[in-house]
Amino acid sequence: MSDTQAVRLAVRKTYKLYIGGAFPRSESGRSYVVTSSKGDFLANASKASRKDARDAVSAARKAFAGWSGATAYNRGQILYRIAEMLEGRRAQFVAELTEAGTRKAKDAGGIVDAAIDRLVWYAGWSDKIAAVAGAANPVAGPYLNISSPEPTGVVAVIAPDEPLLGLVSVIAPVIVTGNTCVVVASERAPLPSITLAEVLATSDLPGGVVNVLTGSVKEIAPWLAAHMDVNAIDLTGVAEEDLAIACEQAAAENLKRVLRPSAPDWSADPGTKRMTAFLETKTVWHPTGI
């Protein structure tokens, strides 16, 4: 009896992409080997092609009307729900981060906790950002003049190499204000991003609001930067300077908003900068005294 139990094969997870609320393989059929920091084999991840990026942008565009039209209160609730789901999978993320060797077991717990807290922090901003980034403007005339921040649209995000905290810290500020996004996960450590996608898929977050691609940043990022239906690009995780410059030049074609590469301390207070980077101000003049 013990013999048959000993030969049971573990059921291993197939890491796929996350596009439009579904988990498809890459259209190209390609995959690449992901290893731990010590070089041990971890899994095969899908290697997304430009067509996967195009499909992800279509999915994000389709989801934009519903998500940007949802109430701030509702978006905040859903972000909080993501935090709840993440909390429930805390042990899985700790194990994944430890296995990948990016964190020691004793630090990994803290990282996961920080990621959960970051989501709750951004969830709270959903109905407050308008009060901070918007204004009732004094004008010289009989008008009520109001400026309110509006989501930019579809945002392409090149995620940093910090697998969970960094990833959450770039996704949450984009979606909390009503944008939808296409995230290119860290090329070196993509596995937690797909596990995070499983969390997103079970958090009442409408399909297509966040789309996750894994693969070569060098291959996918220029296509997203040049895509005419992408409204902004966050280059945070682009390490090579040449690639960042090329992306920024391509992004100029349709005047995308660009957040330049940076390597912030992800555990520090993020401030509102990442939210306001992907907001546009709408100002309305309304006659008064009539």
């Binding site: 195009r54 296509w223 040049a226 895509h227 239906d229 992408v230 349709n254």
Partner: protein
């Protein structure tokens, strides 16, 4: 086939005998063949040619209760110059509107070479008397329509009254005068592929210049297998009578990929002779924007966005 083809419509019984004597369609086979042809990969220069050909084949259509003169004028401007920023884009084959808007479309398109097609005969249901249908057709022809898209009486067809359908098509053809007649079979309501084949033959025997899949108001509309069966009917009809008939799938063709699949189907079923706007049309509205976006993608090397093209 004992009755010569010219005489099959001499009575309801002979017409029925002829249509029911047509070989049955192998449903699984037709589905498989259409699916297999849909997997052909058309890339680079071939794709560029296919996109331009598809644009030239489009019948740009607006058939809404809410159509305004402004919308029709805007659509006509787009038909003549699909992408105003790129003069190398060919114009579409025709615009397709309701009969009361034909005059407006003719005026808006004056001299551009884009034809004006009009739906008629109590479109889309076809539920009216023959007199009303003929009058509807005459209205469109008098307003200057080059092409008439009529609907067959599906109720009579499904009840087995083929002669009534036949005579109605003959009467409308007579009312068309110089105008081309496209006969809409509304395959989504015909229930079986055998019926699609019978209706295709019926429409061609009655003198239709084109056979068209659908009104666009019923789902499913222009599926690949249905188009395949109609193309086969057209091929067989040419062999039997020497008269060439065109085919127009309409409804549900939204992407460039859908359009290219249709072109592959045409090439593999009836051959290059039909790869021309005179013999094959694509009834569509949103398709044109996708074709233009793909065309721009091929020209600039970056993915295009819908914000840069007109909505209708």
């Amino acid at each position: 086939m004992t009755t010569p083809l010219a005489d099959v419509a001499s009575s309801g019984a002979t017409l029925r005998a002829f249509l029911h004597g047509l070989p049955g369609v192998d449903r699984v086979g037709a589905d498989q063949r259409a699916k297999m042809l849909g997997t052909r990969s058309i890339k680079t220069t071939a794709k560029a040619e296919a996109i331009d050909l598809a644009i030239r084949m489009v019948d740009l259509t607006t058939l809404e209760g809410a159509d305004t003169p402004g919308k029709v004028r805007a659509m006509c401007a787009k038909a003549a110059h699909p992408d105003p920023s790129d003069p190398s884009v060919p114009k579409v084959a025709a615009v397709c509107v309701y009969p009361d808007l034909v005059g407006l479309a003719v005026e808006a398109l004056g001299g551009s070479g884009v034809k004006v097609a009009s739906v008629a005969t109590a479109f889309p249901s076809g539920r009216s008397s023959l007199e009303v249908k003929v009058a509807d057709t005459a209205l469109a022809v008098a307003a200057g329509a080059d092409e008439i898209d009529m609907v067959i009486d599906r109720g009579a067809f499904l009840a087995g009254d083929y002669l009534k359908v036949y005579e109605e098509i003959v009467a409308i053809k007579a009312a068309c005068g110089e105008a081309h007649l496209k006969v809409i079979l509304e395959t989504g309501e015909l229930a079986t592929y055998d019926n699609v084949r019978r209706a295709s033959w019926l429409a061609m025997l009655a003198g239709g210049d084109f056979i068209k899949t659908s009104t666009g108001k019923v789902q499913p509309a222009a599926t690949l297998p249905v188009t395949l069966i109609m193309l086969e009917a057209v091929r067989d009809f040419l062999a039997a009578t020497g008269r060439k008939v065109g085919v127009k799938p309409a409804g549900g063709i939204r992407t460039t990929k859908d359009a290219i699949k249709m072109l592959v189907l045409v090439n593999e079923t009836v051959g290059e002779g039909w790869l021309d706007p005179d013999w094959f049309r694509l009834g569509a509205s949103t398709l044109l924007n996708d074709l233009l976006m793909q065309r721009q993608k091929m020209a600039t090397g970056r993915y295009a966005g819908p914000d840069y093209f007109t909505l209708d």
